[in-house]
Symmetry: C2
Subunit: 429 residues, 2 copies
């Protein structure tokens, strides 16, 4: 059945995904004489770079989420539907969603990425935690705290250590920032909450299959970050592949086993495409696009951000799956749609690399941009500033700033709450 | 099996429930030479009077929750366990919980209250929403927003109205404050989020079985509050019993039916006792206590707050189930335990009635204390002040104040997020 959408007689631009890329397109098309339909399975935009702070009790989910309906209030020619898109029928220019079908004139696929567990079977990956959206981050927060509560109850020292140990697989920015935050919690917060636990026995492991963490950054920054996470007492395992996990014990490539009740997988992401595109338009889980972000072999379909693979000499595997690429590609697609409607020339994509940064707990971060590199306190301040400024919404900027200020001054993270909304009986659906 | 608790050789005071009453006892016993064990099924204290603000997107759950482990950091002779208490075996002075058994020397039952659906069978009450804890409040928030999303999808006008209509059963403070907040949202927020919905068709109903709302307050305040909620466009049905609900349609006593997809039940609470007490110690769901809060027919067991029924001439049905009673009874029990250990005289309970207040949306509230009565803006400011000051924790005071300030200035409530933490596959338990 067709999705109910007010008919305006105008060309319809459908944007799938309210992440960094999708909302950029909507913003830039707000004065164009088209109907914009933004779709997302959540009713909010999530600022993913700070998810690890929600998982570690430093920020509220509401501080990094922004209601998409509020965002759409500034897009007079747009409307929002909460929907999961299943596939596209390019022959009739329609997408099929869980709430109905929808015709498009221009389709922008901005569906981002999901966790990539590579060859792990479900029975292994299901036992690992992931952190790609707010429900997962809240779940991780509750899970770690529940394990600590359980650790107090056992007389078995080995079981206790298993419950309090945390392993992070993947030494990219997410893994490193999470390891830093957990190291800080072990040092400053958890011992006060759990005086009965001997925290010298709590191990935080960080596994990285290559020979350095933050391998997308300069080698000097990798070394600095390595020192910072080690200073927080994190055990870093370089050149180490995790090969198995049974819920209690992690196995690494040489057969060694590590007792660990919580394993957080940050070692891979993959594109999250929709079905219905030509096989020749797919590169694994990413969608192949030309230099205008147009999906190969299809008309009026664009893909941007994590889900898009624009392959060229400089980026033989496509662009990095980070927010700035999504935002810049969103901007380009919007401008090209405007240009094509006005019969002007469309432009090709040129990635402006703003650099990279990662924070490692209190006072420490690394950053690099345009050949400049920096580590330590100033980099940490810069990290704070950039993240606050790129958050959407004035309220979120303020609450994050004040939350951080409070956490910094008090050495505390007060949101150590085990909230499990579904453990009650008045769920109607 | 016995619960693992460090043995100190000291007398053990076990407090069941980390609500207003329970934490007051712990606070007042912190210098006594006993071991305090605080138990709660959640790992946080919840400031229940503001739950309706969480349900309506005005406050984050973290702003009204306070981690009990953080609270216990100031109680050097105390420890916390997250546990659900099943029953007490008074003969051997032990309680049985989901995590093990525990001996007590003094037992304080501060288990509060739960929703009372009276004679409704489960198939009716399961279709109504309740709002007695944070998971329920978050669930209600998501449920209302999901209904609005669904309303956009239907061509059936009747179905649409059913989805957007909200009924509140019970004209006590919770029902009235919730009705005010929803009325305000319909006026200032929802029309901007859902421009496709005609809000003249959205009905907010408030049902009260007696002849006035806020019947515990002076009749003048009932009248004022009635005017305030009506000004927000709420339909108030006095002298009206709700007799049935099938998920789509509410039935009232005269047989009239009202289309309504969301029904929130605030019309009754009942004590939430533990099992194992003598029948003669129970008055329905409340536990009978003497003037010292000691449970009748038992030794070394106290009940305080909502779950306790101290019946005397002035309070033939027991004291009102409100926070000040719980706090004052907690204070009394702590002092009497100290007195009895020091062989001093114990004191009987005298309720100091601080008055009552309720807010009805923006700028409006009613309050009364010691014969003084007030309504309007000044009462509203007083309501804000009292609630902020009684919140636990400096951070919560600040975040609530700033959140309210933001909401007030912008006429907005930004937390319109549908967060359903359990809809993902990495739940391990």
């Amino acid at each position: 059945m067709d999705l109910k959408i007010p008919s305006t007689g105008k060309k319809r631009v459908v944007i799938i995904g309210g992440g960094f890329g999708g909302i950029e397109v909507a913003k830039k098309l707000k004065n164009l004489d088209v109907q914009i339909v933004l779709l997302d399975k959540h009713n909010y935009h999530c600022f993913q770079p700070l998810l690890y702070q929600v998982a570690t009790g430093g920020l509220e989910p509401g501080s990094i989420a922004y209601p998409l309906r509020k965002f759409m209030q500034d897009i007079p020619n747009g409307l929002f539907r909460m929907a999961e898109v299943r596939h596209v029928d390019t022959a009739i220019q329609k997408i099929h969603t869980d709430i109905g079908d929808l015709h498009y004139d221009h389709l922008i696929i901005a569906t981002g990425s999901t966790t990539n567990f590579f060859k792990f079977p479900d029975e292994v990956s299901d036992k690992m935690m992931q952190m790609k959206d707010i429900p997962q981050a809240l779940n991780l927060r509750s899970f770690i705290l529940e394990n600590f509560e359980e650790a107090l109850l056992t007389y078995d020292e080995e079981k206790k250590e298993e419950l309090i140990n945390i392993s992070i697989v993947g030494g990219g920015p997410t893994g490193v920032e999470l390891a830093g935050a957990l190291g800080e919690m072990r040092k400053n917060i958890l011992p006060k909450d759990y005086p009965e636990i001997d925290f010298r026995r709590m191990q935080i492991h960080l596994f990285e299959s290559s020979d350095r963490i933050l391998s997308a950054m300069h080698i000097d920054n990798s070394s600095k970050a390595l020192k910072y996470v080690k200073d927080f007492g994190v055990n870093v395992w370089l050149n180490t592949m995790v090969t198995d996990y049974n819920g209690d014990e992690l196995t690494i490539a040489d057969g060694k086993k590590i007792k660990c009740g919580t394993v957080i997988w940050t070692a891979g992401v993959k594109g999250n495409p929709i079905g219905g595109l030509a096989d020749a338009a797919m590169a694994g889980n990413r969608i192949l696009v030309d230099e205008y972000c147009q999906v190969l072999h299809h008309n009026n379909i664009y893909a941007i951000g994590d889900v898009a693979a624009m392959i060229n000499e400089q980026f033989p595997k496509g662009h990095p799956m980070v927010a700035p690429v999504a935002i810049q590609q969103g901007d380009l697609v919007a401008k090209n749609i405007i240009a094509s409607i006005k019969n002007k020339e469309i432009k090709s994509f040129k990635y402006f690399d703003k650099g990279a940064m990662a924070t490692v707990g209190r006072n420490k971060a690394v950053m690099e941009a345009k050949g400049m590199r920096m580590g330590g306190f100033i980099a940490w301040l810069a990290w704070l500033f950039v993240h606050v400024m790129t958050l959407i919404g004035f309220r979120n900027k303020i609450t994050v700033t004040l939350g951080w200020l409070y956490n910094y001054i008090t050495y505390d993270r007060t949101l150590r709450l085990i909230i499990r909304p579904f453990k009650n009986n008045n769920e109607k659906q």
